[in-house]
């Protein structure tokens, strides 16, 4: 079930994450307008709750973009962020929602190609999966 205008939320860390997005944009890269970026100080700040609430509020897919794991501004921040994302993915599969809807990515501020790649991956996933179907047993 293809969705022409999916809703994708990207939690982006203020350091390497945002800077890699900035660099891509200032280099003239174009990406799907469905991606909505929300800035967080560090991906470690992202809680599973934020991701789940975003899905509840109508997002078809959510991604988290942080620094490279060995070059995170806050040392272990992007590793912590990845743990939360993995946890949410397990929870989603338990309730029968495709875990691919939630992904974690890492980029350094100089990786100009990374963000357009991420946006297109997530946009393809969201278009392929369509809106989240409520499970039959919840009425």
């Amino acid at each position: 079930m293809a969705d022409a205008k999916p809703k994708i939320v990207g939690f982006c860390c203020e350091k390497h994450g945002t800077e890699s997005v900035d660099l891509a944009i200032r280099s003239g890269e174009q990406y799907d307008a469905s991606v909505r970026l929300v800035t967080v100080p560090c991906t470690g700040r992202v809680d599973g709750l934020h991701i789940l609430k975003a899905l509840e509020d109508g997002a078809d897919a959510v991604f988290v973009l942080g620094c490279l794991e060995k070059n995170c501004y806050y040392d272990t921040g992007s590793i912590e962020g990845r743990k939360r994302v993995e946890y949410v993915r397990t929870m989603l599969s338990e309730v029968g929602i495709e875990p691919e809807r939630v992904e974690m990515f890492n980029a350094s501020s100089t990786m100009v190609w990374k963000f357009p790649e991420i946006a297109s991956t997530m946009s393809q996933t969201a278009r392929r999966l369509g809106p989240i179907e409520p499970r039959g047993d919840t009425k």
């Binding site: 944009i25 003239g28 929300v38 470690g44 509020d57 070059n71 806050y74 272990t76 939360r84």
Partner: protein, 526 residues
Amino acid sequence: MNRGTQVVICRVCSEGAGLLDVDKLARVASDAPGVCSTVVVERACNKKTVLEIVDDAMAKEADRLLVAPCSKKEISPALFQTYAKKAKMNEFLMEAVDIIGEVTLPHRDDPTRVQPKAEAKLRSAIVRINMLEPLQRTEERMRTSNVVVIGAGAAGIEAASVASAFGLHTVIIEKSEKKIDAPGVVMPKSRLISAKGHAGNYILTIEVGEKRETLECAAIVVASGGDWREAKGPIVDELQVAKPLHHLEQEIGEGRLPGGAIIILDTPDPKGIRTPAQDFMWEEALHCATHIRRKSPTTEVYLVFQEMRAMGLAEFDYKEASELGVKFIRYDSKKPPKVDTKNGTRLIVTDMAQEETLSLAFDTLYYASVAPNPDNAAIAVALRIPISSSGGIRRGSIQRGPVATPRPGIFVCGTAKFPKSREVARLEGKAAGLMAAQFAAAGKWEFGGSVAEVTSDKCSACLTCVRTCPYEAPFIGIAGKAEIAIQMCQGCGICAGICPSKAIELHNYTDDQLSAETAAYLGGDF
């Protein structure tokens, strides 16, 4: 508290690409809750305009400011400064919404979605600004402006010279007894035991000979260097003539050339753990090898490496080295080279390409790799800074600067990080000395602002935050609940994200704020 938000929309920047309807954006802003004034100006960075809009903000009693459509970095800092000075607006209540960067530029190819996305972005930014708290940053005076340098190698001495040229008092802690010519105080036979305090006001405990002393300082430079003498392994045991590569560099620098055949080998202990790739060594090995062959074409030079990577301009050195007749021998890490047990001046190595075992006669063998200083672990524990898997002091993210550790006021330079030539170590020492001096000379240290705070009623003292924080800011206080030392908190919010009791909130990035902002952005249909 929340009196209202003034939204300033700059027409020149918005209409630049011809994709945005500014008046429609302004209507969205004025319809949004919490907005008390919406002004559309020609150019928000114009000095005269700034004065007019500040007057408007004061007349409407706005206590928050949202500027569109540029990012905070692009807007003239004078705008925010004028608001802070004239309208006494809190710096944490002034934000910018980057509509150009996030909507106009990247969606030029999809113009029909630009306007609705810009409106949704603006709405979500207004939701966020209405929920912000006015925060304060705190200043702490430094009790001293001392800079302590650990290690009196090339990097350490350079760091101390630079810092003392700034007019600061420097203290060098050196474990050996060697005579050192450096400015400030040099403490031979001393080592660091422990450290207390935070940036600007560190209190170190130092062992000098038999005595223990305390030393207060504003900034610390770690220049503990490497220790090739600690290298152990079959080759070192059997060899008398083995030196680290920087000795060869120094000899060359002094105009001396080694007599007889030389071998440059990549790692001092081929049987032990493989030394991680050290990019400096390929370049320097090539450099030395070409220099020797150029000056003395009869000297045999062998480069015995697991891998030879000549990066960037070093490619030319590689070409020249091959042309000059330097012999490159690549070996398999599973078949490390051995010194001939019968004859200590021959190295037996299997060439990977030919699969042939060679016996190379040499006079001197140089190691292109330096083992880490074994004291690094103790220094890292005392200063609470991270250590890398290869035993070097790890610097922080590159965004903090090339010689900065994750802890403010502590800098690292030279071979303490990973092996490097004396020249590079000296340059790093210069950088670290300068950064430490700049830090210490400020005389005060600012902290606070967007930091984490614990709601003690919710805290179950599970220690999760204490274990997770990379900066050791959370601790269990007298009341048996977690508390955050705000001098240590860098505002990442990892503790807030992980707290199982949801007892920690990061100011201005609370759960409610983030979820409300996301929901508002998702509310836009485009």
